[in-house]
Symmetry: C2
């Protein structure tokens, strides 16, 4: 059952598995070890490395801020960023705006199906503070590709536990149209 | 003459001094050493550390991206960011947008005369690409402090050699009004 569940949803956490099977997290960990199922972080990395290395065209995968967990070029993309101590203001442990911006902006670059993608403009909103320890899931959606000038409009919405924390409209340059 | 010139403009580079006095950069360096005038980077640091440590209220000075060279709380601020290899896309050596954003955004935070300053919204434009080795000078200007809701509007314009490379309008939260 554990193997099956993880196969269906590779991004499920040990905590969620423990809840699902009403056992302790420790039990889940031991069972995973026995079944040689890597931990969530490793699973995400494996998926990312295998699936996206050849797919992302506009920049090398390691230049994306956060980890891409899904991408369809010129359509949509999703990435995860875990907010750690290096991302927050020392005083209040609130995530600094430029890290949320960097995650969203690099996802907007990555989703472009072109060798060259640069940001022209952005209109952004921080809708609630993100704290150290929280996991930010950014979702990018390509809204419009302008055939004449090659500008691509990408909307990125970032969530913590399904709560909107950041919203951005990015207008991207690209070297040519691939539509 | 050297001492006088540097006193008048502590941010002048050795290259500019060499040009001014039509001597080699090496000569300038040796003369600086003899006169015990520290190099530009050190001079900037000294100015920054001495003048601004107690002045910036909203965050510790080392959390500012770039080096603050001038600040008047709730009025204006200037910072310098030298674009190095860690700031650029590996492929084309163009500075990544989030670093220019981080410089501007942290300057918009620093200029606020309050213990708490957070970014609510931003409207930004990248007007020309910045390359590795270039020096970005960001200038922030507080445009409006809304007495009712405490929102502060800050405009930041960033330049390389007097050419506009980035422009941002930031709407900042603050905990209270100090006006």
């Amino acid at each position: 059952m554990l193997t099956e569940t993880i196969k269906e949803n590779p991004f499920i956490t040990d905590e969620e598995l423990a809840e699902k099977f009403t056992v302790s997290i420790q039990t889940i960990r031991l069972d995973r070890l026995e079944l040689s199922i890597p931990e969530l972080r490793e699973r995400i990395k494996n998926v990312a490395e295998k699936r996206f290395e050849d797919e992302v065209r506009s920049l090398p995968l390691e230049e994306v801020i956060g980890e891409i967990i899904d991408i369809e070029l010129d359509q949509s993309a999703i990435s995860i960023l875990d907010i750690k101590s290096e991302h927050v203001f020392r005083r209040n442990k609130i995530a600094r705006g430029h890290h949320l911006f960097a995650q969203a902006n690099s996802l907007a670059v990555a989703v472009i199906n072109d060798e060259l993608a640069l940001t022209a403009k952005a209109n952004i909103q921080f809708t609630r503070s993100v704290k150290e320890g929280e996991r930010v899931i950014a979702k990018a959606r390509v809204e419009k590709i302008d055939d004449d000038n090659g500008r691509t409009h990408v909307e990125v919405k970032s969530y913590v536990n399904n709560e909107l924390v950041f919203k951005g409209e990015f207008e991207m340059y690209r070297s040519k149209n691939e539509k």
